[in-house]
Every structure is written in C-alpha cells, then in structure tokens.
C-alpha cells in the first residue's frame, strides 16, 4: 500500500486487497495521514482484487473520521465492477464519490 500526501490531496494506492488481513493497517496509516483541515482523499482501487466486510469497515471508519465526509472529500477511484457491486449492495456508494478515470 502506498500513501502519497500532496498538500491537501492524500492518495492511497497499490491496494491489492482490503480484508481482515490488512484493514487494521489501512485504518492506522490512512488515519494518521488524513489532512487536518479540508482536502481530498482518493483511494485508488484499480489494483484491488478483493474487499470483504473488514475492508468495508475500514472505509466506513475513514468516512466517520472525516466527520461523515463533511470535512474532506472522499473518492474511490476505479473499483473493479464486482467491487463496485459490493459497494452498491452495502450502500457504501452513497457515502463515497466513486470515480472511473
């Protein structure tokens, strides 16, 4: 997992999976790097093969820690169709901006 902090833009990429195995680490590392004031957080899911409920929980925790997305714009980039389906099934797509680039 790679985290780049570009001022007001935080980009998280190279996430092969977001599951019980690494969701704790994701929460800690992304939580620590969150912009203190307003900004944009982009989670690049283009390389993500698998997300389970722990991964969804980590994303939801991120949403909560940014004041329910009020302070920070949260974007999920390029999720695979099946992961997009999982977001729709769990209604996570209503919390995040999902962008295909």
């Amino acid at each position: 997992m790679k985290i780049e902090n570009l001022g007001e833009r935080l980009t998280v990429s190279e996430i092969s999976e977001l599951t019980a195995v690494n969701s704790g680490q994701f929460r800690e590392r992304v939580g620590a790097a969150l912009p203190s004031a307003s900004g944009v957080v982009e989670i690049d899911l283009s390389q993500t093969q698998f997300v389970d409920s722990s991964g969804l929980g980590a994303l939801f925790a991120l949403y909560r820690s940014t004041g329910n997305g009020k302070n920070v714009t949260l974007r999920l980039l390029n999720p695979a169709p099946e992961i997009q389906q999982l977001f729709e099934l769990t209604q996570m797509h209503q919390l995040f901006e999902i962008v295909q680039r």
């Binding site: 389970d52 409920s53 169709p81 389906q85 999982l86 099934l89 209604q91």
Partner: protein, 297 residues
Amino acid sequence: MKTLLICPARRPAVPLLAEDRPLAALPILGEALVAHWVEHVAGLGAKEVRIVAPDRADAIRAIVGDGGRWGVRIEIIAAAAESSATEAASRYRSTDEPGWLPHPHDFIVMNHLPGATGSNLFESYAGWFSGVRNWMPRAITPARVRMNEIRPGVWVSRRARVHPSAQLNAPCWVGDQAYVGRGAVVGPGAVIEDRAVVEQGATVIQSVVTPDTYVGKLTAVANSLAMGQTLINWKSGSSLRVPDPFLMTSLARKPKATARRARQAVGAALGAFLPLNLLRTWNYRLSGRTSSLKPPI
C-alpha cells in the same frame, strides 16, 4: 396428443444461471421453467410429453416425475447435446406417427416462457430478468391457490410473512414461505422467490432473489439477480461472489449426496484410524511391557 419439450443446454451468455441446476430447472415465480411448460402443453391437450434433456436429466426428472401432477405421462430422454426443433422432429418422431399437437406446439425448445416467443430467456442476464418480470401477471393459474394479488400488481403468497411496515411496490412478487422484514422495500420490479429472506431495512428493486437466498439487513439489491452468495448485475453482466454471509448467502440445505459424501469421508477416516489403534492395543497387550505412550482407548 403428444408433444416434445427440448431443454436448453448451458448457454455461454448466462453461465452462472446453470451452475447449480440445468436451465430448464430454474425457478420462475415458484415453478421450474419445465413445469411451466408441462402445465402449458397439458392445457393444450397433451397427454404424452417427451422431454429431451441435454444437461443433468436427473434434475429434470426430479421436478416433473411421471407427470401425474398434470395428468400427463412424461418420458425423459437424456441427450448429449441440445437439438433444434427441426432436428428433434426428425430424430424423435417417425413420419407416420399420429397424434401430435399442431405446430408450433409439437416440438418446443424451452428458451422462453409459454406465449412469450419474442423474449429469449438465455441470451443475456437482462433477458432472463425481463422474462421473469414480465411473467408476473401470467403466473397465477387456478392451480396456484396460495398466491394472492393483494392489490394491483402485488402478488404475495398466503404463506409468506411480510412485516406490516415493509413496502411492497408494484409490480412485485413475494413467494411461498418467503420473509420480508421490518421496513424492507420490495419493488418495483422485484421477485422474491420461495423461502427467500429479505431482512429488515433491505431494498430489492428491479431484481430477482432466487429461492432460499438470504438478503441481509440494510443491503440494497438493485438491477440484480441474487442467487445464494452470487450477485449478478443483469444490466452490466458483472458478477460478485459476496464474501460475507451476513450480507447475502444461500439458506438451502446441502444436497443429500454431499452429506453422504461427507459421511463416507468420515467413515473412511475412522476406518483408517481404528485398525491402527487396535493394532497398537494388540501390540501393547502382547508385549506386556510398559510403554511411554499412554495405552490406547
């Protein structure tokens, strides 16, 4: 009168539909596709129905039996590949054989529902969904006493359990022994098949939930076919194996064959273990010496 029904073989456009059962055995509003067809041809006066099954003939036989339920006699013919109606006519009917239903009811490929020749169920997942949704107003027959149209376009089985706060938006169908929980939204365009469970706060719109499928609390199934753990978006064709059973899963009991195989595996393991243990006991007693190992039970 005679007729011949041809079951569709697996179709590349809809591989997931045929994963657990042959396409002709897929449930549509409480009945398998093949059962809808047998009922239809029986209504046309057929007394002898031959069914050509290129895929898992036993599953078809388990559904239709000997045909007594419809007052017809059924013969299942297992075939290696699917035939077209023309091929079947030349293969299964001798030229001078009388007593067949008139064309086109004599040889029928079951890739659509009766009377819906324009809509091919197996050309895409969207075709399947559209066929099932459009069949709702036609699925009630005099024999189906359990289904009840509680208001226009809303069909609910008398044995379904629907929480008073659940919203049922027409057109929708809630099958036998299905459950719709508190605050759930079903429809428009939703089919909840027999024994399916739609939990509290869940939403099912423009979708089919197949029999024995559990849809968890607050989940949203839209433009999809929910089949056990498999979720297929019929618009995009993408599919997902849902990773967590509390979101979506199958409630169906494992087939007996699987249980039998499991028992056989346990039996084989015990069989391998017990002689070894008996041998150890025998050695222990014969040698009469103290072993550092505890004596076997």
